[in-house]
Every structure is written in C-alpha cells, then in structure tokens.
C-alpha cells in the first residue's frame, strides 16, 4: 500500500514569488524573513521524500465558472499547464507545466465516488496559483507528478465545513489504501482571515487577527472538533469576506487526523493576511 509521507497545510500567497525574487529597491522589507520561513517549511516536504503530490486547492474563476460549477473536482490528465494571464499580470507568476499522475487520479475518482463523494473530473485542467504557489514554496523544482483536487470555497452555495473535513479524511484513507509502493504527500492550501474587494482589505494585518490566532491553534493541535464547533458557512463571513478559503485548511485537518498535533508549525504576520504553515508526518517525526 502507498505511504502518506506527509500532510501539509499552508496559506497560498500569490505575492510570495515576486517578493522572494525581487532585488534592490523593489525588494519588500519583509522578504528575507519570509524566504527564510519558506525555506524551513520546504525542508519539511523534502525530508518526507515524496514521489507524488495530491494538491488540494481552489480555482479562482479561471477555468471553473458559474455556468458549470463543480463542488469538488479531481484533475486526471498527463499534464497540467499552470497559471493564467491575470495571475501573470497581477502577481508576476510564471507559466508552468506540471506532470499528472493519472493512475492515482483515476483511483481517487473511483474510490471517492464509491465513498459517497460525487467528484467531478477534468481531463484538461489549467491550474492556478492555489496549486502553483505551494509548488513554488515547497517544491520549486516542480519535478513531481501531481493530482489536483479542487474545492469550491468561492461561489455559493458551497459545501459545509463538515464536508471538507470528511473529504480530507476520505483522501487520507484512500491514499493509504492505494495499491502502490509510492510515497504520497497530501498538500492543501487555503486562507486564514482574508478580505478581497471589501472595506477591510489590504490592512496592516489580516482582517481578523483574533480569528487567525484561534485558527492556527485549531490546526496546530488538530482540534477538528473545536474548529467545527465554531466555524460554519455563516460564521466565516465575519473574519473577512474571502475567509471561506479556510475550509481548505479544515479539509487538511481531516487528512491529518482528529487530535493529531502538527509536527511543524510556523506563521508570519504580513499586511493583508497572515501566513501559516503546518506539516504532519503520519509515519512519525522525521529528522
């Protein structure tokens, strides 16, 4: 059976690429600290020696649109071109191409459907920064095949938080039961409190530092029950109008396991939003 080499949850900050590659007067004052934190976080994936990456993210109205909107979708293709014109324009993100793992994608689709998740699929998916940001931060050589799993955290009506946790648990079970000798890292990215296009955007911190503090503690402690007791589709409006992206963190808490503390936790308070990084090693801590 396959091995879950690591479970990793992270924010995906589209400004990281530009901040980390800029020089001279263009380099923001927080760039060096940010790069140091990312390099330490990257080492937690490298140490796990993965062969393939399951990448949980969310399309930002690039390929998935309101005329045909899936709630959960698995990309099954030999390749995924990545990043879009408007991400190049606004964030300076490079065009990329990642290899896919069709065998694992087909397996997750079959097993997921049989487990009660009516997963949509795509055989030609151009992925966006929700998947490429963690490639840039965690595996910049982009040399491993991926299986993208897209969730709808963007266009109501959305699945409830409980459903994200359940899908995370199912992904973990399915990967562990995959008849393969590969080492699989399950990586997912979302947001802490975040406001986009509203009055609280681009402040000196995230829009709700108190929510961020609680969220980091829920994730770091694997406190799924505590998190679910407070977080609902309605409650997520209060910390910021784009905070439903936190449900991808909840999915990853499901994948990590109830009550399982993260082996690695870090965060960085930036303007606009807080960064947070978590790694679990299901096999036990790796040195």
């Amino acid at each position: 059976m396959a091995t879950v080499a690591a479970v990793i949850a992270s924010t995906h900050h589209p400004f990281y690429y530009r901040a980390s590659t800029s020089t001279g007067a263009d380099r923001p004052p927080f760039a060096d600290e940010w790069v140091a934190k990312i390099e330490a976080f990257r080492a937690t994936l490298t140490r796990a020696e993965p062969d393939v990456l399951v990448m949980v993210g969310s399309d930002h109205f690039h390929q998935l649109w309101l005329d045909n909107m899936p709630q959960f979708l698995v990309g099954k293709a030999p390749f995924f071109d990545a990043n879009w014109y408007n991400e190049e324009r606004e964030f300076g993100l490079p065009r990329m191409r990642l290899a896919g793992d069709e065998e694992l994608a087909a397996y997750l689709l079959r097993e997921g459907l049989d487990a009660g998740f009516d997963l949509a699929f795509s055989n030609e998916l151009r992925i966006d920064h929700s998947v490429t940001c963690p490639i840039i931060t965690l595996r910049p050589q982009a040399d491993l095949p991926v299986v993208p799993v897209y969730t709808n955290i963007f266009a109501p009506p959305m699945p409830r938080p409980e459903r994200f946790v359940a899908l995370g648990r199912a992904l973990r079970r399915m990967v562990e039961a995959w008849p393969s000798d590969k080492r699989v890292a399950i990586i997912g990215t979302g947001h802490l409190s975040l406001e986009l296009g509203g009055p609280r955007q681009f402040g000196p911190h995230g829009p709700d530092p108190e929510f961020d503090r609680k969220a980091v503690a829920w994730i770091a402690n694997g406190d799924v029950d505590g998190c679910l007791a407070e977080v609902t589709l309605d409650s997520l409006h209060a910390p910021g109008n784009a905070t439903h992206g936190f449900m991808d963190f909840m999915l990853m808490m499901g994948a990590a396991g109830n009550g399982v503390k993260a082996d690695y936790t870090d965060s960085l308070d930036l303007f606009h939003t807080m960064e947070a990084y978590f790694t679990w090693y299901p096999e036990g801590a790796r040195s």
Partner: protein
C-alpha cells in the same frame, strides 16, 4: 437583479487583455457592446448556441458604465472579480498598494453583513 450577468461581464473582461484595455479606455461603449454581443454567449459553446434572456437592469448597466466598484459590491457582484479587474485597470496609475487601499477606503461605510453574492 442579475448578479450572474454582472459577474459574467467582470469575468470575461478580466481574462482578456484587449478587453481590459478597452473597458479602461471606453467604459460605456464597452458595456453596451458587451451586452449586445457577449451577454448571451454560452461560454464553451459555439457562437450560434446563444442564450436569449440575459440583460442588465438599469442600475447594473449604470454601475458598470461608471466603473463604480462600491455600487457593484452593493449589488452582490463577486468582490474578487471586481477587485481583480479594477486592479488591472487602475493600479498602474498609483503607487504600491495605494489603489487597493483607496478602493477599501471608499467602502468604509459598509457594515456586516455584506450583500449576498450567491448567484
């Protein structure tokens, strides 16, 4: 109310570099052209397979013509779409993050709960 159509305008313009420039240079002309030629296009279908029922209300058409992001927010247009497109059009005229912060300041009077964005 046709939040879907407002979003469709923002989405189709934002993803097309030529339309971004056209909407910046000629807001009213672009909105009128778009409503006439694009509003009823079913994306991902051939041109002949059009819808027949999509149209802006007067307020929606005005908000788009006047590039009024506060009004669009009030109508429940998806804030991510509006923000992304407006940054594309207007960030270039300002210093770093100046436009994004002014965009937020113009909305300071808006309290929770925000307008519903469900389509």
């Amino acid at each position: 109310m046709s939040k879907y159509l407002l979003n469709k305008f923002l989405y189709t313009v934002d993803r097309d570099p030529e339309l971004v420039e056209r909407y910046r240079a000629d807001p009213s002309g672009t909105v009128d052209w778009w409503e006439r030629e694009v509003a009823n296009t079913v994306l991902n279908c051939t041109a002949a397979e059009k819808s027949t029922w999509l149209a802006f209300t007067g307020d929606e058409r005005r908000a788009l013509r006047e590039q009024d992001h506060v009004a669009l927010f009030g109508m429940g247009a998806h804030p991510f779409l509006t923000l992304t497109l407006f940054i594309a059009m207007f960030e270039r005229d300002h210093g770093p993050l100046e436009y994004q912060r002014a965009y937020a300041r113009a909305m300071e009077h808006i309290q929770l709960p925000y307008p519903d964005i469900a389509t």
